[in-house]
């Protein structure tokens, strides 16, 4: 059911919701960008509607709301382990269509690839998603090419338009909060065209893996991992055991985001690494996004949000790489 409110009414409803839920949304962090006096848009907990950045695409994806960058798996002593408590409150995560499609990819890995992940699951079960529409396409995204420009997996759709606010509440419990509004048909804004278009390679063969393109782009890569860290579908982590300085037998085990482009990702005890060459790392990442994942799960991993292209300090365009690879495979 859809409802219309004034922006003020919506703000006050939101403030009340934020008491019941932990709300995670894109926020402008003033001056926290890579360079001086440059902002960054990333996710954080918010308590009022005006903290949320509705216009700009977030530089970092929503995934940290479900998968913390650092997550304590357990605390340990010599002979015992203690698992930290999960989220105390239900959470609302504001995101766009591309990102909501990415949630399906996270679920795939963390819930349906072999074992169920205890930590992801307990947070995921407490999470509802609030869709932010896209009235216009961003420049780097290619969600239409990836079929991720639309979604109906949201629990709530929320749109601000001048002095008005609109919601569509699919979740019954959330809908309660909006019953006071004027009923009006509301449907999400989805884009139907992007300036960036990507044609995925067909007929990928073992020869594709040897494409010179991976060498070309690999040579430009500086292994910073930004493309992975901003990606809403990258889910890799590394385990770290931290031993407390004052009692080295006690500590905690954490999992921490990892990047297949950063040194050490494939290194085993003794120092042997399986992908020391950047071309191999580039191939590994790209193939995972547009081939391997699909081979295993039946749909592509990449949701075409374009963040990796936006963030790369070396101006490596993954979307262009894929298009060029597509042409090579014709």
């Amino acid at each position: 059911m859809g409802y219309k409110f004034s922006k003020e009414e919506m703000a006050s409803i939101f403030s009340k919701l934020a008491e019941d839920y932990d709300v995670f949304a894109p926020v402008v962090k003033k001056g926290d960008g890579t360079f001086s006096d440059v902002d960054v848009v990333r996710y954080d907990k918010v308590s009022s509607l005006d903290e949320i950045e509705f216009e700009k695409k977030s530089d970092y994806s929503f995934k940290e709301a479900l998968l913390p960058i650092n997550e304590t798996i357990f605390y340990f002593t010599e002979d015992e382990t203690t698992v930290p408590k999960g989220p105390a409150k239900e959470r609302l995560v504001f995101l766009r269509a591309c990102d909501l499609n990415a949630v399906k990819r996270l679920d795939q890995i963390y819930l349906k690839n072999g074992f169920e992940d205890f930590y992801y699951k307990r947070t995921r079960e407490m999470t509802k998603f609030v869709l932010m529409g896209c009235k216009e396409s961003c420049t780097s995204g290619f969600c239409v090419s990836m079929g991720t420009n639309t979604t109906d997996e949201y629990d709530l759709y929320l749109k601000l338009d001048g002095d008005n606010a609109y919601v569509e509440a699919k979740d019954e419990k959330l809908a309660e909060a909006f019953k006071s509004g004027n009923e009006e048909a509301v449907s999400p804004d989805f884009v139907s065209e992007n300036p960036t278009k990507v044609t995925l390679p067909k007929n990928i063969t073992p020869e594709t893996m040897k494409s010179e393109l991976f060498k070309e782009y690999g040579n430009r890569c500086i292994n910073c991992g930004r493309c992975n860290f901003v990606c809403p579908t990258c889910t890799c982590f590394t385990m770290q055991d931290i031993f407390y300085k004052d009692n080295e037998k006690n500590g905690e085990r954490r999992r921490v985001w990892a990047s297949c482009q950063v040194d050490g990702y494939t290194e085993i005890a003794g120092g042997h690494g399986f992908r020391s060459d950047n071309a191999d790392r580039m191939r590994f990442k790209v193939m995972h996004k547009i081939h391997d994942f699909e081979k295993r799960f039946g749909y592509h991993m990449c949701v075409g949000c374009g963040r990796c292209d936006d963030v790369c300090p070396e101006y490596i365009s993954y979307s262009n790489l894929v298009n060029r690879l597509g042409k090579e495979c014709e």
């Binding site: 798996i73 357990f74 340990f76 002979d79 382990t81 698992v83 890995i109 963390y110 690839n113 072999g114 074992f115 169920e116 992940d117 205890f118 930590y119 699951k121 307990r122 073992p206 893996m209 889910t235 890799c236 982590f237 590394t238 385990m239 770290q240 055991d241 031993f243 080295e248 037998k249 085990r253 999992r255 990892a258 297949c260 990702y265 494939t266 290194e267 085993i268 005890a269 003794g270 120092g271 042997h272 399986f274 992908r275 191999d280 191939r283 590994f284 193939m287 995972h288 391997d292 994942f293 081979k295 295993r296």
Partner: protein, 263 residues
């Protein structure tokens, strides 16, 4: 819901020294384990490392650990009676039934012998389960040989070629790479042969090239991969190769699959 990340405490029952660098830890474990599977073992002050099972006993499981990297050093300072956190077993392991009734050739390099030890043991104890069983094991030097007693025992019932890359002049055993001994293998029917090959990546590559020269089909070759793993549960992503997760779909692969896997 079960939290797969939580390890259990396991007592070190026995420590067997093979070389200055390699030891086998016999640890308490109740549960089903297959050769070729692995456990994540927590090393005090360092962290977890995936270590393959090198032996399976009643309420016991063996881990043969080479003292490399920061992770595995610490284990060697633990002694009988101490406890370590372990979780597992993970991975598919070797299925003995895939090899029964065949002419089996098992080729291992260094610690690569460990995951196959259970398989070798089975056919050494039950030689009639196979038409024939041959083990070709390669080590760097006589001082690096693992499972010395096992080799003596095994050679009573199956063919064993234990070769070393470098040997002092007076050494009277076989020398050279494992690949040297492949062309001379005799088969009643090559179509009935199976090969299992585990070792460092470069050794696997050249061994399989040598095996293929015998006119063996890909289906007849098996291998096991060692990759970085942080979870063993198909989550951390480090061991992914193409569409496969070594921790879930491997570490044992038939070569029909393995040949498609790129690092």
């Amino acid at each position: 819901m079960k939290n797969e990340y939580i390890p259990q405490l396991s007592e070190i029952k026995e420590v067997i020294k093979h070389t200055d660098l390699e030891y086998t830890f016999r640890m308490a474990f109740d549960g089903e384990v297959k050769p070729g599977q692995f456990f994540e073992i927590s090393i005090p002050k360092y962290g977890e490392a995936p270590i393959s099972v090198s032996g399976i006993g009643d309420g016991l499981v063996d881990f043969t650990i080479r003292r490399v990297g920061k992770v595995t050093d610490e284990v060697f300072e633990n002694y009988v009676g101490d406890k370590l956190f372990i979780r597992g077993p993970y991975g598919n392991g070797f299925d003995i039934n895939n090899y029964k009734g065949n002419e089996i050739v098992i080729i291992g390099g260094g610690t690569g012998v460990s995951p196959m030890r259970g398989v070798i043991q089975h056919f050494a104890k039950n030689p009639t389960d196979a038409v024939s069983t041959t083990v070709i094991a390669g080590f760097k030097s006589p001082d690096d040989v693992l499972f010395k007693k096992d080799f003596e025992e095994w050679s009573k019932t199956i063919n064993v070629i234990k070769t070393v890359d470098n040997a002092p002049e007076e050494y009277d055993g076989p020398t050279g790479m494992v690949t040297k001994y492949i062309p001379d293998l005799k088969f009643q029917d090559i179509k009935n042969a199976v090969f299992i090959c585990v070792g460092p990546p470069i050794m696997i590559k050249f061994t399989i090239m040598e095996i293929q020269k015998l006119g063996v089909a890909d289906e007849q070759i098996w291998t096991s991969y060692e990759r970085k793993m942080c979870c063993g549960l198909g989550k951390c992503g480090h061991c992914k190769m193409d569409d496969k997760y070594v921790c879930l779909d491997g570490p044992v692969f038939n070569y029909t699959e393995a040949k498609e896997l790129f690092d």
